[in-house]
Amino acid sequence: MNKADALGFVLAAVARLITGAQGHWKGVPPKAEQRIYFANHQSHLDWVLIWATLPADLRAQTRPIAAADYWTKTPLKHWLTREVFRAVYVDRERKEGGPDPLEPLAAALEQGDSLVIFPEGTRSNKGMPQDFKSGIFRLAKQFPHVQLIPCWIDNVQRVMPKGEVVPVPILCTVTFGAPCNLQPEEPKADFLTRARDAVIALKPGGAA
């Protein structure tokens, strides 16, 4: 076991101790097939929580998306995201005439890896997720064979509210729903609304 694996193991154990990291596989079983998990985004811990919830063999082939400018700034951040989480780096700013920002994601999917994405693009603390960005639609169109799994992450904003650095132990759950793939000829706006509704429908205690 090398250093990165050991740290990953410790991080998952800490996440379990603090949040319980319970995964409820309602729509799909935890299976090693290629998937894109998309979830609501409320906290920096969202990715760690989903990752800790996954069984160990799925963890190895499931990768997060990290903002290149932030997560490569210091050697530690770079090492953490590259070696422990095997993050896919994307540029937040889209330059005119530059390469497609989704290019690295597509490359990862072509390799056969699974991805975790937060289609809202940014963290929201309003309770309900904001409207989804169109990236997920383009990935769904480009990779129709990859399963799109909606996830609801519950309670994580209470563990570490914005501005705090020490997490407080509170149980969190991740609910995984049934695949929500693109229908043939489905318009973009319809698909994005449907995907967002699929995530909201998984909220424990109803969508109210």
Partner: protein
């Protein structure tokens, strides 16, 4: 009796575990046979609940054994972990706000360890007042510094209550292990065993009798089965079992029965209070994972002990006039 008295304390405790695990094995074996018979769906429901209780009993017995094997430090750490998990569950169910973050940090990372260190070092004078006096002040102060006046009293009351039940209450179990009696040494495990057995007896009897009797529940909105009659019978049952076990405690027969009655009553009432709390949090029964985040069921299991242990601890200390 002569034979029992000739054994050393360690040998007696070993015998106790032999009896405990033997009894559990026997009950489990019978349960397996009963489960294989044909039965109506109603019986089936009762059996499922009984199976869950039996599993909790097994876990409790193993934890108790571990606590004894690992000595004073081990027992303290073990119960501290349980406290942590129970408090985590409690806080999850009580919706806290962002401004509570600091108070929660205090509860988890300062109050809980300090309380268990106090228990482990047998500083029982500070141990009994640390949470009701000092933490009682510290939590609202930190919360006020958080600067959110909305539902201030309610939020602080919740945290305060959680700390009282999950940390203060549960920490009395290892404290009991460490209590020194003037003429009997190393008898702490017997006292904890006594406490656990009588509270469990009361709890199981209460569940069993209330489903059999089907009397009017006292508070239908909270618990559909809890009745005064079944509660009284359960307490008397606990007293009876306590009487049977009097030889392992420093008590005489009547004392043991009274102590068991107190512990059984406190435990069952504590469980009743926990049911009310769950209803408030929107949980109808434990184990419905996916409906409410946080309902994993540990709190429910330790609740009777959380309420019975402090009452028991203080009655014992008061009665024997123990100074340490």
């Amino acid at each position: 009796m002569k034979f029992l008295q000739s054994l050393t304390a360690t040998q007696q405790i070993g015998l106790l575990f032999l009896i405990l695990f033997g009894g559990l094995l026997l009950v489990s074996a019978v349960a397996v046979f009963v489960a294989m018979r044909d039965k109506s769906p109603q019986d089936d429901h009762g059996l499922t609940k009984f199976a869950a209780d039996l599993r909790a009993l097994w876990i409790g017995a193993v934890v108790f054994w571990l606590a004894w094997v690992s000595g004073a430090a081990g027992a303290t750490i073990l119960f501290a972990v349980f406290s942590f998990l129970a408090l985590r569950e409690f806080v999850t169910l009580m919706q806290t706000r962002r401004a509570d973050h600091r108070s929660l940090m205090l509860a988890f990372f300062v109050v809980l360890p300090v309380q268990y260190v106090l228990a482990g070092s047998r500083s029982f004078d500070l141990f009994t007042v640390f949470i009701p006096v000092y933490v009682f002040l510290a939590i609202p102060v930190l919360s006020a510094l958080g600067g959110d006046p909305l539902r201030f009293l309610e939020r602080n009351a919740k945290i305060q209550w959680g700390v009282m039940v999950c940390v203060f209450g549960l920490s009395h179990a290892p404290a009991l292990l460490l209590l020194d009696f003037p003429n009997t040494h190393d008898r702490g495990p017997f006292l904890v065993f006594f406490l656990v057995v009588v509270t469990l007896t009361a709890q199981l009897l209460e569940t069993f009798i209330s489903t059999r009797l089907r009397r009017r529940p006292v508070a239908r909105q909270i618990d559909r089965t809890f009745g005064l009659q079944s509660w009284a019978i359960a307490c008397l049952g606990a007293a009876f079992v306590g009487g049977l076990l009097f030889w392992i405690t420093p008590f005489k027969l009547p004392q043991a029965m009274v102590m068991a009655l107190i512990a059984g009553a406190a435990g069952t009432l504590g469980e009743f209070v926990m049911t009310a709390l769950k209803r408030d949090a929107g949980v109808n029964y434990w184990g419905n994972t996916g409906q409410v985040t946080g309902a994993v069921g540990l709190l429910d299991r330790v609740a009777p002990l959380c309420f019975a242990a402090p009452v028991f601890f203080h009655s014992v200390r008061w009665y024997f006039q123990l100074k340490s």
